[in-house]
């Protein structure tokens, strides 16, 4: 048998450069499950990609509509941006009763959305990261920072929660300025940040989007020399493009204390794509969760397996890392509990979103190095 899962991401549009690695992450999990031969008595899983454009709610809804009706997918990895995700969830997935797990929609508003238990996400809450980042910066003895965020719900949410946490602990945010992704020039932003000053610059953006432009400008004009990188900025590109210029800067990303991310990276490398891409691991986890829940419910009907998603994601049970999906299926078949950790140390809380532990990193000797876990 063949089970189809939809992958609805913004393959064209402002985040188009992030989408391929995410889709490949999800497909990697599907391939792993299919190859194990242990899924639903030997069924295979294939992904069907659909373009959500990230910005156009109507087009995204049409895409998801088509995935569900025409392709007959049993679950969806996606969408990508919060607005588009909400629209396709409420207008299509919910009426059709199909599970959606978003790897990257981080808007807090999604937590309170009525979803009939059909919506989950594997990206962490922004609020927690703000606190983690505050502690880290304080420990570095930095008392004032300039802050710039990518102008979307992720960036805005993260920036606001960080600013609140940081100022609560006596720090000073000299400026809290947005930058838009995909703009041709960031001189104005860099100039404003530089003028506001601060001991370090926090860039709550994406490394392969505007975040890089800001970083480049800040480095070249000599405006800042220490940077703080939240999850969206920590990736292979950061090391490759800026390695030796940002030694001493630091940051954090959600990651299990174990070697989940590393295992995922190795698997991605073997599969021939760059697993360090933002949200690539989360996409892997989203796909894995859907399939494990199906196995646990022994049904591909969303109405049935939606109840199992939280079970397989959380304790109790044996911890499952990337590359161990076959083992997980075996355990499920034996009737044992599993606690899926995956590439992003999945821990679904509340209405089904990731709690996340964080890995603190520092750039040393031109490389991203893990300092500790929080």
């Amino acid at each position: 048998d063949e089970v189809k899962l939809g992958i609805s991401l913004g393959f064209t549009g402002p985040l188009e450069s992030m989408s391929p690695a995410m889709a490949q992450g999800a497909e990697l999990a599907m391939k792993e499950v299919s190859d194990s031969g242990k899924f639903m008595s030997g069924s295979t899983v294939v992904g069907v990609r659909g373009d959500s454009t990230c910005v156009d709610s109507a087009a995204a809804a049409a895409t998801v509509e088509k995935l569900i009706t025409a392709d007959g997918v049993k679950g969806i990895v996606g969408g990508m941006c919060s607005g588009e995700t909400t629209a396709s969830l409420q207008n299509v997935a919910m009426p059709k009763g199909v599970v959606m797990i978003s790897p990257s929609a981080t808007s807090p508003a999604l937590s309170t959305l009525e979803d009939n238990g059909l919506f989950f996400r594997t990206s962490p809450s922004d609020a927690r990261q703000g606190e983690v980042m505050t502690d880290e910066i304080m420990e570095h003895g930095i008392k004032s920072v300039a802050l710039t965020y990518t102008n979307n719900d992720y960036g805005k949410g993260l920036a606001d929660s960080f600013a609140a946490a940081f100022e609560a602990k006596g720090g000073k945010v000299t400026i809290n300025a947005a930058h838009d992704d995909g703009k041709p020039d960031y001189s104005a932003e860099v100039a404003a940040l530089a003028s506001a000053g601060g001991e370090a610059l926090v860039i709550a953006g994406y490394v392969d989007q505007g975040g890089s432009g800001i970083l480049r400008g800040a480095l070249d004009t000599g405006a800042f020399s220490t940077f703080v990188f939240p999850d969206g900025m920590v990736g292979g590109k950061l090391e490759a493009d800026f390695g030796k210029e940002i030694n001493g800067s630091f940051g954090q990303m959600p990651s299990s204390e174990g070697e989940g991310k590393d295992k995922f990276l190795a698997a991605a490398k073997a599969a021939g794509f760059d697993g360090t891409g933002v949200y690539s691991g989360e996409a892997y986890d989203a796909a894995a969760l859907i399939m494990l829940a199906m196995a646990a419910a022994n049904s591909t009907d969303p109405a049935v397996y939606k109840a199992k998603v939280m079970d397989v994601a959380n304790a109790p049970g044996e911890k499952i890392l990337p590359g161990e999906l076959g083992k997980a299926l075996e355990l499920i078949a034996e009737g044992k509990d599993i606690d899926y950790q995956g590439a992003s140390s999945v821990e679904l809380i509340g209405a089904g979103e990731s709690a996340g532990t964080f890995r603190e990193i520092e750039i040393k000797n031109d490389k991203i190095e893990t300092v500790k876990y929080r």
Binding site: S57, A62, A87, N91, A109
Partner: protein, 449 residues
């Protein structure tokens, strides 16, 4: 340049019915035939139709401005977005305490801003030329600082209220259908301001001015959280009467019985019913607009408008108030855009200001108008429906085509590169279809005359 135009397309009076017939066939195929190109589900066909109808209204709005009067408005996205604000302001519940915290402050600040502008305009008119530059600048600067002094704390107070879910003033909790005319009114008001200042500009200059105004409006909506939560989006905007929620239908015994009698499972039945109701609602609005637009175009009023479009200098010499008429038509067209914006938001059920990008909401609409045949109302409707259909389907056909291509290749980097770039075939296909239409019907599918 000599004036002869490519000759009107062939087909005469049967052309329009034939074109709409062909379009209907496309939608029917989408609803019934399942193959590489069509999904074979009515859900999809109606889903596309529903947004297509709104696109048709948008195209009609642009056509009223361009086709009737030659006004090159590329700020479509701005007026659309402004219309989209209406459902938020009209039908969302008010945020408790928000108005008390900062509402008055914001209102006062806006009044200050308004007063400053009025004063500046007044001074400009009254003072001697030598003084007025400085006086106006000083007024503006002072006014700006006064405005910021009142505005900033008020906004902060509003945004402090439960920021992750609210942090804005909210609306007044009225039925969402009411917001449609209000969206039109909002856009019309903005068009009045824009028109008063910018309508003296010539074609392409007006285009860039309106493009800028569109960007400015969207920037405001993206960044003024007290108004519409900015990039954080407003969710849960109620549906317009009489459209029910599918999940409610699926639990409604009456509906379940009815669906069963039609031989439909409740899931399919409910989604189809909802889409059908939306479509009917939109068709009603579109029909009303088309009726009004056709009557107007074929009246002496329309003749006057065409005369102004053809030659403004001569029209003015023949006693037509060119500026006044331009303003009128700009406001009407923008109101239609605002109406469509409000309809779109009440269809999506949410307001996502960062979704308003000019490629999708300005250029694509223009493509619809031009492909349909500018100056022809039915052409705009046709263009709206057709181009939207193509825009959506091209997203599916692109990867399909690429997949066929890649099937013959061995696995490897080239193949994976091709597969990864498949979504971009959407644009290629869209472009090729656009070029093909314009090639074989260079004045649009339904030319003006």
């Amino acid at each position: 340049m000599s004036t002869h135009q490519p000759k009107a397309a062939k087909g005469g009076k049967w052309r329009a019915p034939a074109m709409f017939g062909a379009l209907a066939v496309l939608f029917i195929l989408e609803g019934t035939v399942s193959n590489t190109f069509f999904s074979g589900h009515w859900d999809n066909a109606l889903g596309i139709l529903r947004v297509g109808l709104i696109s048709a209204i948008l195209a009609l709005g642009v056509n009223i401005q361009w086709g009737y009067a030659g006004l090159f408005n590329t700020g479509v996205v701005g007026f659309l977005a402004l219309g989209g604000l209406a459902p938020v302001l009209v039908s969302m519940p008010a945020t408790p305490g928000a108005f008390a915290a900062g509402g008055w402050g914001i209102l006062i600040a806006l009044c200050v801003a308004m007063a400053t502008l009025v004063a500046a305009v007044f001074l400009w008119g009254r003072l001697p030329v030598r003084l007025r530059g400085w006086a106006v600048a000083a007024t503006l600067v002072l006014g700006f600082f006064a405005y910021r002094a009142v505005f900033d704390p008020a906004v902060e107070a509003v945004q402090a209220i439960n920021p992750s879910a609210q942090g804005y003033l909210g609306g007044i909790g009225l039925p969402v259908l009411l917001s449609w005319p209000i969206g039109a009114a909002l856009a019309a008001a903005a068009a009045w301001v824009v028109g008063k200042t910018a309508l003296g500009l010539r074609s392409d200059y007006l285009a860039i001015a309106t493009l800028g105004i569109g960007e400015i409006i969207v920037a405001v909506l993206r960044n003024e959280e007290w108004l519409d939560r900015g990039v954080l989006n407003v969710n849960g905007i109620p549906r317009p009467w009489p459209v029910p929620y599918e999940t409610n239908l699926q639990q409604d015994p009456g509906f379940l019985a009815r669906a069963a009698s039609f031989g439909l499972d409740p899931m399919t039945g409910s989604t189809l019913l909802v889409k059908l109701l939306y479509c009917l609602l939109f068709i009603a609005v579109l029909g009303l607009l088309i009726w009004a637009a056709q009557l107007a175009l074929n009246s002496p009023w329309g003749r006057m408008m065409r005369a102004i479009r053809d030659n403004e200098v001569a029209a003015a010499a023949m006693g037509k108030n060119v500026t006044g008429r331009h303003l009128q038509i700009f406001i009407i067209g923008s109101a239609v855009l605002g109406l469509a914006g409000a309809m779109l938001i009440s269809l999506d059920g949410q307001m996502t200001p960062s979704g308003y990008n000019p490629l999708r909401y300005t250029f694509l609409i223009w493509v619809m108008v031009i492909v349909g045949g500018s100056g022809n109302n039915w052409g705009s409707v046709l263009g709206g429906l057709l181009i939207w259909f193509v825009w959506i389907k091209a997203g599916e056909w692109g990867p399909t085509l690429m997949g066929m291509l890649a099937d013959h290749l061995a696995d490897g980097t080239l193949k994976s590169h091709l597969v990864d770039s498949a979504p971009h075939m959407r644009l290629v296909i869209m472009g090729v279809i656009l070029l093909a239409v314009l090639r074989f019907s260079p004045r649009g599918l339904l030319p003006e005359r």
